[in-house]
Amino acid sequence: MALFRKKKPQRMKGKLFTKQDDLKDLPPMVEVTGVHRTYESGAEPVRVLKGVSLKVQRGEMVALMGPSGSGKTTLLNVIGLLDTPDSGTVKFAGIDVTDLKRRKVPLFRQNEVGMIFQQKNLIPSLTAFENVYLPFRYARGKRKAGREQAREALRLVGMLERENHLPNQLSGGEQQRVAVARALVLSPAVVLADEPTGELDHKTSDDVMDLLQELNEQTGQTFVIVTHDHSVADRADRVLNMDDGKVVPEKRQAPRKRPATKPRKLAPKNRKKK
């Protein structure tokens, strides 16, 4: 099932994956080509995506910015296969998933894509642990290993002591950490985050970003983060700007900022499983 994972670099410590040039021979992790999406709900059709194209390399952390209504969420949903484009293709590691059979979509999403949203990410009637464990509940044949992995993910985001708390017993930042743990627990190749810090204060937002950045560096997962916050975008390897349904041709970015705080000790080998 780990369709893309095998080709994905293992733990990326040191030089090998710090430079994008090293990955030139491998197809990009995410490749969106000429995607159009028009909503026909109202009297006037709304053309939201007007030929979006972008590439995200393996292990890259990309920020997606742009004015409100420019189609960022729509694009993220298309990449996460929550939404289907009218035309254009979405490729994961060179494999076209645009026309993936509908019944295979949940499985694909489970294994390859983790998603984090701005708010109300967690199921209120499930504890932190149960929320992180949720993907295993719906995954085949993974439930046993899932217990440990869910704990591991909670430990990773520093929420293990709170595993038995319900979301309403956690602060917004803590809830978002749990949501991050849930997005990562199945070791997806790509993590898509839609304004993950949008409802958090500056300090908490920084903490969550530290966490995402550490995870990106330690695990080599690919991150696409939609944000309006420049301090968030500054953490990314690259910033893509959207405007009016298109990705604006990019200018080269300055090297990304290092985490503000000292990196938390991550549990070793947490990503070793294929």
Binding site: M115, K120, L122, A139
Partner: protein, 400 residues
């Protein structure tokens, strides 16, 4: 690709459903109350009809082996008549009819002459039968304590359990029946039917009591209530009944089939009315489950969207929703059942003193009502669950 699916962790599934029920306490309580009322009605009515069915079954067993010959009364009284009305000499005339194996007369008398018939309980009756003949019957009332009557007994009686309770009698005690003293030699096992109010005596004793009452008449004939006719093996009892009626004038015969049918029809109609009304109560309760769950699904559509995003399939959402309504049904069912159990126990304890157990709450009935509540909960959950599966994550995740 494997086709078997890992089941959801049942414990987590149930725990989540319970938390969801708990999340909306007032609303859940009302819904559970609605189901509970329905199951309460269903269980109580079920207990009533069970107790009735059991009494009727005793009647069916008793009558189904014999043709009961009574005085032709133009349709009134029939097999349930009491009092002296038929010359016992008819017995001999019946016995010689082709196809009759044997026949014996019985005499029923009201223990208290001015006892009133009531729907709720049968009056106490004195039942006189010849012990030697009655002993040959296939259907026998079981004696719990003491002994059965035997040929040659005089001044002895075997009594039903209601009589025991009402009169505080025991084996060896003496009881006065219509001015004469009788010794209690046996007590019948409880049947929940007419025999619980019996004083069984020998036919000879019963005739003597009857003669005392009717002493003002000049008739020298021994009058009995009915004659029990047992057909020979292989003889059609309906045809034999017709033959008896045509041979002997002034009598009415009730063949077992007809009697059985009459009793069963009565019981079926009663059950239909009683259970039907209770069923309506339960259905109304389940409508409130549908309503509640539609509200809950609408409220939780965002959660459901998130679940779909992390890999839940339609069947998972379906299962989770239906688990919740099934649990509502279960809780409502258990509470309704417990309420009914309490009520029927109290009522039974009160009416027992009058020799009547109005309700019979069997384990089968318990399993059936609670099971029914769960099934209904699950069924009521199907529509909201189906709606839940239609929720599109892209849509709901946009909502604030």
């Amino acid at each position: 690709m494997r086709t078997n699916h890992t089941p959801l962790g049942t414990i987590t599934l149930v725990r989540e459903a319970l938390r969801n029920i708990w999340r909306r306490k007032a609303r859940s309580a009302l819904t559970i109350f609605g189901i509970g009322i329905g199951i309460f009605a269903l269980t109580t009515m079920g207990a009533l009809s069970q107790s009735l069915s059991k009494s009727i079954q005793v009647g069916i067993d008793y009558f189904s082996s014999r043709i009961l010959v009574t005085k032709d009364s133009g349709g009134f009284g029939g097999p349930f008549a009491v009092g002296p009305q038929l010359p016992s000499s008819i017995t001999d005339r019946i016995e010689v009819i082709d196809g009759v194996d044997r026949a014996y007369p019985t005499l029923s008398l009201l223990a208290e002459p001015d006892a009133e018939f009531s729907v709720a309980s049968s009056p106490e009756t004195i039942q006189g039968a010849p012990p030697a003949e009655a002993a040959k019957d296939k259907f026998q009332l079981e004696v719990g304590e003491g002994r059965a009557l035997k040929a040659g007994d005089t001044g002895k009686t075997v009594i039903g359990s209601n009589v025991v309770q009402k009169k505080q009698l025991d084996v060896g005690d003496t009881v006065t029946l219509r001015g004469k003293q009788f010794e209690v030699v046996g007590i019948l096992k409880r049947t929940t039917a007419d025999p619980d109010s019996f004083y069984m005596v020998t036919l000879t004793d019963a005739l003597a009591l009857s003669r005392d009452i009717t002493s003002f008449t000049t008739s020298t004939e021994e009058l009995v209530t009915n004659i029990n006719v047992f057909p020979e093996e292989g003889v059609d009892s309906t045809k034999l009944t017709e033959k008896i009626e045509s041979t002997i004038s002034g009598v009415d015969g009730t063949p077992p089939d007809q009697l059985k049918k009459t009793l069963e029809d009565a019981s079926a109609v009663f059950n239909l009315i009683v259970l039907g009304s209770a069923l309506i109560a339960v259905l109304v309760g389940s409508l409130s489950v549908i309503n509640t769950m539609i509200m809950s699904v609408t409220e939780r559509r965002k959660e459901i969207g998130v679940k779909r995003v992390v890999g839940a399939r339609a069947r998972h959402i379906l299962k989770e929703t239906v688990t919740e309504t099934g649990l509502i049904g279960l809780i409502g069912g258990v509470l309704g059942f417990l309420g009914s159990a309490a009520l029927t126990a109290v009522v039974n304890a009160i009416t027992k003193q009058q020799g009547l157990e109005l309700f019979l709450l069997t384990p089968e009935l318990a399993v059936m009502s609670i099971g029914f509540a769960v099934v209904l909960g699950v069924l009521a959950g199907l529509y909201p669950a189906w709606r839940a599966t239609r929720i599109k994550p892209v849509k709901v995740l946009r909502e604030e």
